[in-house]
């Protein structure tokens, strides 16, 4: 056990080139919540002087916080456009790197009470259908998917982030919604997934970057390096993300 931890420590130190300390504020897309919680613990294990603070939310909300001057160190977005806007504002240190990819899935409550079998069911008025709000990545992707399938959805709610949508599906208050594959996996059977065929699906790119005005630039660089390292990649893979 001690040996294994030591080995992991050594391996991870090699990859992070650490020496970072202090608080590292990581603003991460809501769909990364679970993966980044684990990332946080793993990073802190090999960088014991650091304390990662995870700020989860819709990517657009996080973008707005950063543009308004929030003192974040790292930004991990669920799509390129939010990252691009932060880059355009000169808030990113260096270049963002795509570190993960995700696909979309139809989420239904356990038991699938609405009998949802595909995207076409999203047009059924008698079902309670939820999507993410149009202006956040999962809402944008969800609408792209429906458009590809030529389905006009009978939407009952536009949730502010993917976790809010997921929890309403898990509670059985909605019959179906479009979320990321990784979200369905994260509930351990709390929600069921209905596959969206590849030709109708979209691939979501997740970019990460240190921020130009990061209060803890070393910590930011170390965290980004850790996410891109083998240790970080294996955590992402465990949570169902595809790796670039």
């Amino acid at each position: 056990m001690g040996l294994a931890t030591g080995a992991l420590l050594l391996a991870a130190c090699g990859t992070t080139g650490s020496g970072a300390d202090g608080e590292v504020l990581v603003s991460a897309a809501a769909s990364l919540t679970d993966a980044f919680s684990e990332m946080e613990a793993a990073f802190e294990a090999v960088n014991p002087e650091t304390d990662v603070l995870l700020n989860s939310g819709g990517s657009s909300a996080l973008r707005e916080q950063i543009l308004a001057g929030a003192p974040a160190d790292v930004f991990a977005s669920a799509n390129m456009s939010n990252m691009d806007q932060v880059v355009a504002a000169g808030e990113v240190e260096g270049e963002p790197t795509i570190f993960a990819r995700n696909r979309l899935d139809i989420a239904v409550p356990s038991g699938n009470p609405g009998g949802v079998t595909g995207l076409a069911d999203f047009a059924r008025d008698e079902l309670l259908i939820g999507l993410c709000a149009e202006d956040i990545p999962c809402g944008d992707y969800g609408r792209q998917v429906l458009e590809k399938a030529h389905v006009i959805p009978a939407v009952d709610t536009d949730e502010p982030n993917v976790r809010a949508l997921l929890s309403k599906i898990e509670a059985g208050e909605l019959d179906a919604g479009i979320v990321y594959v990784t979200d369905v996996a994260s509930t351990d059977g709390g929600v069921g997934g209905v596959r969206i065929p590849d030709d109708e699906n979209v691939l979501a790119d997740y970019p990460i970057a240190s921020l130009a005005n990061a209060p803890n630039a070393d910590g930011a660089a170390a965290f980004v390096a850790f996410v891109l390292s083998d240790a970080g990649r294996s955590i992402l893979a465990d949570h169902g993300f595809a790796l670039p």
């Binding site: 819709g58 657009s60 909300a61 973008r63 707005e64 309670l128 939820g130 709000a133 149009e134 202006d135 956040i136 939407v155 009952d156 709610t157 536009d158 949730e159 502010p160 809010a164 309403k168 509670a171 059985g172 208050e173 909605l174």
Partner: protein, 270 residues
């Protein structure tokens, strides 16, 4: 009461400087955010922003929901206040605690609790749905329920306070003169607490208008059905900041007008 006023008049001096400075800082806490809002207001685009679909839909949902919540609060809250003020029963302080709980509870917790109780799979929501087909979440009624939950305590505590301060001898006199209990309530009690009742109703309405957390958690967010002004602000903040600021300004103007008018007309009478 009167004696106290005159004696304090006699001792009237200039207020201590420290107090004034702290008071000014206290005021700044409220004023500075408003200045921030005004600084970001796109004045020129304001007319266009305020007549957009999203704004008008949100305004309509907000007006319906806040008035609905105020009406329900009046119908249920006044009797509740009366019972709390006039009826001795065991556990009254616990009931009073329950009534004011939504004042201190994070609204999002209230929304989650409402969902567990009245949602389609909720404690009461499920049998209700099976019996009547009614689904509260994601409907305008859901918005009304969420707003009632957070706003009714304002009415109850205002009216209860007024009832407890009311000189019971007036009601006693009316009863002695042969008025029935309903007549006493209608002709003596309610008119005497009129100003407090009005203040309570206005506060309830203002709180209902500003309600956000319970609404988005319980009723969801759909333009034209459940998207109230605060929800529209929240969503617009991430996509169209000009619209968000314009909407915020509408809320500030409405709320401030109501509160200032209230202050002038009723609160001084309390």
């Amino acid at each position: 009461m009167k004696k106290q006023v005159t004696s304090s008049d006699r001792r009237k001096r200039r207020p201590p400087l420290v107090l004034l400075i702290l008071a000014a800082l206290g005021l700044a806490v409220f004023v500075i955010p408003l200045l921030g809002l005004l600084a970001r207001t796109p004045w020129r685009d304001l007319p266009t922003l305020l007549t957009g679909d999203v704004v008008l839909d949100a305004l309509r949902v907000s007006v319906i929901a806040s008035l609905g919540a105020t009406a329900i609060s009046a119908i249920l809250g006044v009797p509740l206040a009366w019972v709390l003020a006039r009826v001795e029963f065991p556990g009254r302080s616990i009931v009073r605690g329950l009534v004011v709980l939504p004042l201190v509870l994070p609204p999002v917790v209230g929304g989650a609790a409402l969902l567990f109780a009245l949602g389609r799979r909720g404690l009461i929501g499920e049998p209700l749905n099976k019996a009547t087909g009614l689904v509260l979440p994601f409907s305008t009624w859901g918005v009304v329920v969420a707003a009632t939950f957070v706003a009714m305590p304002f009415l109850v505590i205002t009216v209860e306070g007024a009832l407890r301060n009311l000189d019971a001898r007036f009601e006693g006199a009316a009863a002695t003169l042969g008025a029935g209990r309903w007549t006493v309530l209608r002709r003596v009690t309610l008119p005497m607490i009129g100003p407090s009742l009005a203040a309570g109703l206005a506060l309830t309405w203002a709180r209902a208008l500003g309600e956000f957390g319970a609404t988005i958690t319980f009723a969801g967010n759909l333009q034209g059905r459940t998207q109230t002004l605060p929800l529209a602000v929240f969503v617009a903040l991430e996509s169209d900041r000009g619209a968000a600021v314009a909407l915020s300004l509408v809320m500030v103007v409405i709320s401030l007008t109501v509160l200032v008018v209230l202050r002038e007309r009723w609160w001084r009478l309390i």
